[in-house]
């Protein structure tokens, strides 16, 4: 870590004091709390061969879990993009009673402890619950199925998409819409040809953030997911099961795959966000 500290060399001769101190504290705390613990992943894995690693991460049950996690997260993120655009639109363009309340509610999934959200959703969508009861009459089970997992993932993804799109819509000059309208374009044509292209990068970034969060989410999904292998077992649950069996190398191997996946996703989101910033600056 000391080589890292040497790397961060001050370039200009700022008169402001505290560079050494603040940099030292920042790098030390970052190393102790985040970087060194994360590197331990490789330390544990260095004891096993690549073949063992590969066997664990491509195990049939693990592959099935990737599929459940990926498909449910993707479907949830798509639904969130649709409703995210709708919500961002009504919150920025319309004035109506309850607008401020709705705006404040968007962050509820951030503020509500995930375990509380988890047990509330499971109960609400179970056969005896308010919503689950309605669907049970039609023969559809929600809790302990992939539908339930998807609903929990929609719940935690809402703020990511809405809060990505909202600032872009707020900055979007209504002049263009007015011009298009003056030229005789219909409302729906204006939305799809003028507004949508402008908010698309933000919607994509929101999609990526919601998707990444859903993949890793544990608390709000674990209760509603039944943990049935090949059916409703998500990747974080497989890691948790391996940990409960004290199979640390296997848990760590699958964790590494997830971390790499998250980094790739994050990298793509950052590229999109750089694009958005370019647009925002004009």
């Amino acid at each position: 870590m000391f080589s890292l500290k040497m790397h961060f060399k001050k370039q200009n001769n700022s008169v402001i004091p505290g560079f050494g101190l603040s940099m030292g504290i920042t790098v030390t705390m970052l190393s102790l709390i985040v970087l060194i613990p994360l590197f331990s992943v490789f330390l544990i894995l260095s004891d096993s061969t690549f073949r063992e690693f590969w066997q664990v991460v491509t195990d049939k049950q693990t592959i099935a879990a990737y599929k459940v996690s990926l498909s449910c997260s993707a479907i949830a993120a798509v639904i969130n993009v649709v409703f995210g655009i709708l919500l961002a639109w009504i919150l920025t363009r319309y004035k109506f009673p309850l607008r401020r309340v709705l705006d404040g509610l968007i962050e509820l999934p951030f503020a509500l402890p995930t375990a509380v959200a988890g047990i509330a959703l499971t109960t609400l969508y179970s056969g005896e619950g308010w919503i689950g009861g309605l669907f049970a009459k039609a023969g559809i089970e929600i809790s302990y199925t992939r539908i339930g997992i998807t609903i929990a993932m929609i719940f935690i993804g809402i703020p990511f998409v809405v809060r990505s799109i909202q600032p872009v819509l707020e900055k979007l000059d209504p002049q263009y819409e007015e011009a298009a309208s003056a030229l005789g374009a219909s409302r729906s044509r204006i939305f799809f040809k003028v507004v949508l292209p402008e908010i698309l990068p933000a919607a994509l970034a929101g999609f990526g953030l919601a998707f990444a969060r859903s993949m890793g989410e544990y608390g709000s999904v674990v209760f509603i997911a039944g943990n049935i292998p090949y059916e409703t077992q998500i990747v974080p649950l497989i890691i948790m099961n391996k940990l409960e069996q004290f199979n640390y190398p296997a848990a760590t191997s699958i964790a590494l795959v997830m971390v790499l996946f998250a980094f790739v996703l994050l990298f793509i989101i950052n590229l999109i966000q750089a694009q958005i910033n370019k647009i925002a600056r004009g």
């Binding site: 505290g18 101190l21 603040s22 920042t26 639109w89 404040g104 509610l105 402890p113 974080p236």
Partner: protein
């Protein structure tokens, strides 16, 4: 006329979505908590293990917020007031915990301090317990909420530039004095905003803590973990009664957040 119809259709659709997805789960917690009357509710809350769990959660949150606020202020100072090579790398490294599953956040501390960890012999020699004890719970919570404060402060302090700090430094003011008298007044709402977000997440952290806590009732059980145990024992009313404490805190945080966000927007101007 048609425009008005579309407007109200969209509003109803959006409100219905939030109603079903957000308000109904919240209502579920409160209704189930109180469905067997006030007495059962207050008994569940006043139960010995629930109170111990609440105390542990508050203690872990308090330490986490102090640590992450300290880090956030120093990191934001280094990153926003100076130019140096590797700044973007440093910013990206700080954001890592955002993209990591809470389960993995807990796992890494087991890999360091657990029975198989490389630091385990050292801890054993000094008779220190980290995993399955308070230090592990605190470390995992700190990890998960690590970037919350710095992330709020960095853009705010970058937008405000460093002219005023430079002027103060040229007049001979020391670092701490500059921070307190020049920087802090400009960023106080942003700082508070970051602290609120950090508190909310730390209070409710479940996955990471679940991995490192060991679930010892009355010792290493936080409030969210206590909720899990009650729910899995089919004590629904008690689980939701304890949850309602967390919901109450969440709603207060949400209201505070909205007030402070309004102030941050004014600060940015």
């Amino acid at each position: 006329m048609r425009q008005k119809l579309v407007k109200w259709l969209l509003i109803v659709l959006g409100t219905a979505f939030l109603g079903v997805m957000l308000v109904l789960p919240l209502a579920t917690v409160l209704v189930y908590a109180l469905r067997q009357g006030w007495e059962t509710f207050s008994q569940a809350i006043a139960e010995e293990y629930a109170i111990k769990a609440l105390n542990l959660t508050l203690l872990a949150t308090f330490i986490t917020v102090i640590v992450n606020t300290t880090f956030g202020v120093f990191a934001a100072w280094a990153i926003s007031k100076f130019q140096f090579r590797g700044k973007q790398v440093l910013t990206a490294l700080i954001d890592i915990p955002f993209s990591i599953s809470p389960i993995i956040a807990g796992l890494v501390f087991i890999l360091v301090f657990g029975r198989i960890g490389w630091a385990y012999p050292l801890l054993e020699a000094w008779n220190i317990k980290i995993v399955f004890a308070l230090p592990g719970i605190v470390l995992a919570t700190i990890f998960v909420t690590f970037p919350f404060v710095s992330r709020e402060l960095i853009p705010l302090m970058e937008a405000q530039g460093s002219d005023e700090e430079e002027a103060a430094a040229l007049m001979g003011a020391k670092g701490l004095l500059i921070f307190r008298k020049v920087t802090l007044p400009h960023i106080k709402w942003g700082l508070l905003y970051g602290v609120i977000l950090c508190t909310a997440r730390a209070l409710g952290e479940f996955g990471a803590v679940s991995v490192v806590s060991g679930h010892l009732r009355g010792q290493t059980n936080t409030l969210p973990l206590h909720v899990e145990i009650l729910f899995n024992e089919f004590k629904l009313t008690a689980a939701f009664a304890v949850s309602s404490i967390l919901v109450l805190i969440a709603v207060i945080i949400l209201i505070l957040r909205n007030i402070v966000e309004y102030r941050v927007k004014r600060e940015e101007r």
